[in-house]
């Protein structure tokens, strides 16, 4: 399977991160793991770009961060979704779904009748 282009993934990654943190405080590694498992690692995101994305979202106020202790008792930074982020997630989900439907519909459509 050929690799999807980075441009497609830019906005998608943000959306997936918002989704990943929507169930409660999670650290960056957990976000990476969740995306990997939930997408069967089809996207194979470059994990280096995951952290700038998290920080960007934090700067925008869509997610909030707090230092805490991980399962194995190590200091880790935990992210939670803010109300602003939740609204953004809803918006992006809707947009993405509409976009996806449109593409599907186009792909399934019969040949053009003239």
């Amino acid at each position: 399977m050929p690799e999807p282009t980075v441009e497609v993934l830019r906005g998608t990654l943000d959306m997936l991160i918002l989704k990943a943190v929507s169930w409660g405080p999670v650290h960056g590694y957990a976000v990476a793991r969740w995306i990997e498992q939930a997408t069967n690692d089809v996207l194979r995101i470059e994990e280096g770009s995951l952290y700038p994305a998290l920080h960007r979202l934090e700067t925008r106020g869509w997610i909030a961060a707090e230092w805490g202790t991980s399962e194995n008792n190590r200091r880790a930074k935990f992210y939670t979704l803010t109300p602003k982020g939740r609204a953004q997630l809803r918006l992006e989900t809707a947009t993405w779904t509409r976009f996806a439907y449109a593409v599907f519909a186009a792909l399934e459509a019969p040949p053009q009748t003239t």
């Binding site: 650290h27 470059e46 280096g48 230092w67 202790t69 190590r74």
Partner: protein, 894 residues
């Protein structure tokens, strides 16, 4: 996930380290991944390599994260600060709102203090500080010429030829521009509108660094006699009269019945900074006929040239070019003694004001008053009562840092000061409007100072300064005090030192207002006395109508026109009396430089020339003005020169002390221009002294010459002066229409109210009286607030003591005496210091007191009495509170 231990939160208490946090986060990720891969069976080295591959460009990611982290850090800090500020503001407003009475007093104190200071500073700035608002204004001077007579200077106009000579020959000045005041009747409307005009030449606007708003400057052709008549409108007049329409250019208006073309509009910012002139409505070309005299000349010195050097050069040029005095003045010149007669002066605006010193004093006093007001508020703020101290102590104990508490106090005072400052803008604005309205005519610039921007700037700067000052004072008083102690100690013991300080402040306030009050009362006394000066004639309803022709009139024409005018006036039922003269009694009458001699006592060269007022009068002049003859008789109606004069008592006393003057002869020993002697004059009557300058003290020695025997070249040769007395109840407007209907063709008419003109000599002392009275009242109010504050505070502190006294049988009267006695003691101390200060400070207004001693007992006693009474009143409310104390509650309190 395990819950985050509470202590971890405190990691945020130290400034978070962005770089370490990012590294921590990435390291955690790497470790977790490595562990995961190893559980899948990779060796550690393989796992690390896999993780690295998976991460990609980790350095770029790290940099980006650090960058973003720093941005967040700044945001967070700003948000923290704003949160704190918002909380402080909310808290400040709440705590101010909790004590509305207290807040009102503090606000009032600031508003009055800042407002008053604002208006006085604006005035002082306009009159004393600001340089002429022209390019290189610091080098702009007035060139004026003055006669010195009896150590009083009389302005002497400069001939326009002087300007030309200076422009060509003077090396000490860059340029010179002449100006002259004029007035003109605007025709074309129902009622005649009299406009103030300033005459300038084509160089003036350039000198002032200005350009016409619309239209153009005057041209050369418009400045020669017989050239086209042009006029420039002043911007305010253009706006009010023509609605700022640009169509006015080219319009022809009638000025004094001459059609004149509007060629441009001069911006409102352009003014001649001569305090004696009213602001111009129209600017007219200064048509340069050689014998034309101007009010003054503005010169700009070359850089580095002193005013003295320039004066010497300009004076030398005048001598060299034989540029003389106006006719009628040169006639009085003593041969070879020109230096005594005229003096050229280069002066700065404001330097010749009698109120200059007083204004400086006032500026200092008001600044001091503001300082005291601020200190007062600072102490009000801190010592608002024991509750406030406890509140601070409690908050300190609960963990509020001292810095935080100080910030709180400063915020509170700045809020207070800004609110007070906002009110002060209105106070200052109102004050300035009042000052500008009450200004004497010679303080023209006051008409320009009342612009919103300067008032706003000064008021807000002062308010912010006050806020910070008050906050700082409050902070200082708090900083050296152990707030923890406050909780245990009863507040009164801790505030003991502060009370002493507050008491001395109140004493200072009372002293300051005593000084202001005594000054104000002295001026009130002086003005009151001067106003009741007996003028020596009956000025009720007396007006002077002057008809001036452009050219001197032959004597015969003047006599016949005068007779016609007199007949018309006599026929008018609303005119009660009429006479002809050279001048109505006026502060600006003619004064002749003279050395008088009698045949018995000829003049010697040791005699110093002095001033003798001189006037010409018709035979019925004295009866019309109700000046009873003390001796002798008036002129008879003949027209042949008989050299008979009427003199006033001052002159009679000067020449013939003790003896009778009637029938005696005298003359001016100063020779005429042609070197011949004046003829002997025979005294035929003596009339009372007439006071024309209320501030001038005694009257000049005066001689009246018969109108019909006048010198055909005399100064009045081109005008006819009619003095009329209106019947009671007749309006001056009626007189204007009369003057219009009878004016001989080709003459300009002006109407002067004789009493008003004389009263106007009091303008400066009266103005200063108004200002000082206002500020004295302000000082008294502030002192009363201070007294009220300190006494209330004491009563609050001594509630328990008062309760005990009452429980032990002290009567309410005794308690009242105790409280009021406290206030009166403070007030008395302030009054004594203030009166001592007034003895010194009133020296600054001595030149405005005209005969009233600056140690006038009335003013000192009245000032002390008023302050004492105010002090007692200020103690009434706290006294009522003290006598209302219920011993049962008071003793148990605390």
């Amino acid at each position: 996930m395990t819950p985050i231990p509470a202590w971890r939160r405190y990691l945020r208490f130290w400034r978070p380290n962005v770089v370490e946090d990012v590294d921590d986060e990435l390291r955690f990720h790497t470790e977790m991944r490595v562990r995961e891969y190893m559980t899948r069976g990779m060796s550690e080295a393989e796992a690390r390599q896999a993780v690295r591959d998976r991460l990609g460009d980790v350095d770029a990611a790290r940099d980006e994260c650090i960058e973003l982290g720093k941005v967040r850090e700044i945001h967070a800090r700003n948000a923290d600060f704003l949160d704190g500020l918002r909380a402080d503001l909310r808290y400040a407003l709440r705590s101010l709102g909790r004590a509305p009475g207290w807040t009102a007093v503090a606000l009032l104190t600031i508003a009055l203090g800042v407002g008053a200071t604002t208006s006085v500073f604006s005035v002082a700035d306009a009159l004393l500080v600001r340089p002429v608002p022209y390019p290189n204004g610091g080098r702009v001077y007035f060139a004026r010429r003055q006669f010195m007579i009896d150590s009083r200077s009389v302005p002497s106009p400069l001939p326009i030829a002087a300007v030309g000579a200076w422009r060509t020959n003077a090396r000490s000045i860059e340029w010179a521009v002449p100006y002259r005041y004029t007035s003109a009747d605007l025709g074309g409307s129902q009622t005649a509108v009299n406009l103030n005009g300033a005459m300038i030449d084509d160089a003036f606007l350039g000198f002032a660094g200005a350009h016409p708003l619309i239209g153009r400057n005057f041209t050369r052709e418009e400045l020669v006699p017989g050239g086209p008549r042009a006029v420039l409108l002043a911007e305010p007049f253009w706006r009010s009269q023509y609605g700022a329409s640009t169509d006015v250019i080219g319009k022809v208006i009638s000025l004094d019945e001459h059609p004149s073309t509007i060629v441009g509009v001069v911006p409102a910012s352009v003014a001649i900074p001569d305090f004696r002139l009213p602001p111009a409505d129209v600017w007219l070309p200064l048509v340069a006929s050689p014998n034309f005299f101007v009010n003054g000349v503005l010169v700009r010195l070359r850089p580095g040239v002193s005013a003295e050097a320039a004066t010497a050069e300009l004076d030398a040029i005048l001598q060299q070019e034989h540029i003389g005095d106006p006719p009628g003045i040169s006639r009085m010149r003593r041969p070879g003694q020109a230096a005594i007669v005229t003096q050229l002066h280069l002066t700065r605006p404001g330097s010749d004001l009698a109120i200059r010193q007083a204004l400086l004093m006032l500026t200092a006093a008001v600044g001091l008053l503001l300082l005291v007001a601020c200190t007062n508020v600072a102490h009000l703020l801190l010592a608002r009562g024991a509750t406030r101290q406890r509140e601070l102590a409690v908050r300190h104990a609960l963990g509020a840092a001292r810095r935080r508490l100080l910030r709180q106090l400063v915020t509170e005072s700045v809020v207070l000061a800004l609110a007070g400052g906002a009110l002060a803008v209105f106070v200052g604005w109102g004050g300035l409007t009042l000052l500008a309205a009450a200004r004497p005519e010679n303080l023209t610039p006051l008409a320009y100072v009342s612009n919103h921007r300067s008032v706003l700037t000064i008021a807000s700067l002062l308010a912010i300064g006050c806020g910070l000052g008050i906050g700082l004072l409050a902070a200082l008083r708090t900083a050296h005090r152990d707030l923890g102690m406050q909780l245990r100690a009863s507040a009164s013991s801790v505030l003991g030192t502060s009370r002493r300080l507050r008491a001395s402040l109140v004493v200072g306030e009372v002293a300051l207002s005593a000084i202001l009050l005594v000054g104000a009362l002295l001026l009130v006394h002086a003005v009151f006395d001067l106003q009741r000066t007996k003028l020596g004639f009956d000025a009720r309803g007396v007006y002077e109508l002057t008809f001036t022709a452009r050219q001197p009139m032959p004597l015969a024409e003047r006599v016949s026109s005068g007779a016609t005018l007199r007949a018309r006036a006599t026929a008018d039922p609303q005119i009660e009396g009429v006479t002809l003269a050279g001048n109505a009694p006026s502060p600006h009458g003619w004064v002749m430089l003279s050395v008088l001699e009698t045949p018995e006592r000829p003049a010697t060269s040791a005699d110093v020339p002095s001033g003798t007022a001189i006037d010409v009068a018709a035979p019925d002049y004295f009866s019309m003005l109700r000046m009873p003859f003390i001796a002798g008789r008036t002129f008879d109606g003949g027209s042949s020169p008989r050299h008979e004069v009427v003199i006033n008592t001052s002159l009679a006393r000067q020449l013939w002390t003790g003896g009778s003057a009637v029938g005696q002869r005298f003359r001016n020993a100063l020779m005429k221009r042609d070197g011949s002697h004046e003829p002997w004059e025979t005294v035929i009557g003596v009339v009372p002294d007439v006071i024309v300058d209320l501030t001038g003290g005694s009257a000049h020695p005066t001689m009246y010459l018969p109108l019909e025997g006048q010198d055909p070249d005399g100064p009045a040769a081109s005008s006819i002066v009619l003095i009329v007395r209106l019947a009671p109840g007749t309006s001056a407007a009626r007189l204007a229409s009369f003057a219009k209907s009878v004016a001989p063709p080709g003459t300009e008419t002006s109407i002067g109210n004789v009493r008003e003109r004389i009263d106007r000599t009091l303008a400066e002392p009266r103005f200063m009286m108004g200002i000082l009275t206002t500020f004295a009242a302000l000082g008294v109010v502030l002192a009363a607030i201070g007294l009220f504050g300190v006494i209330s505070y004491t009563v609050g502190q001594r509630t328990r003591e008062i309760g005990i006294r009452m429980a032990l049988g002290a009567s309410r009267g005794a308690v009242a005496r105790l409280v009021v006695g406290d206030g009166v003691r403070l007030a008395l101390a302030g009054i004594v210091i203030g009166l001592a200060g007034a003895v010194a400070a009133t020296r600054l207004i001595e030149n405005l007191l005209y005969g009233v001693s600056r140690l006038d007992p009335f003013s000192f006693v009245a000032g002390a009495t008023v302050l004492l009474a105010v002090a007692v009143v200020a103690c009434v409310v706290p006294m009522l509170r003290a006598t209302g104390v219920d011993p049962a509650i008071a003793v148990r309190a605390d």
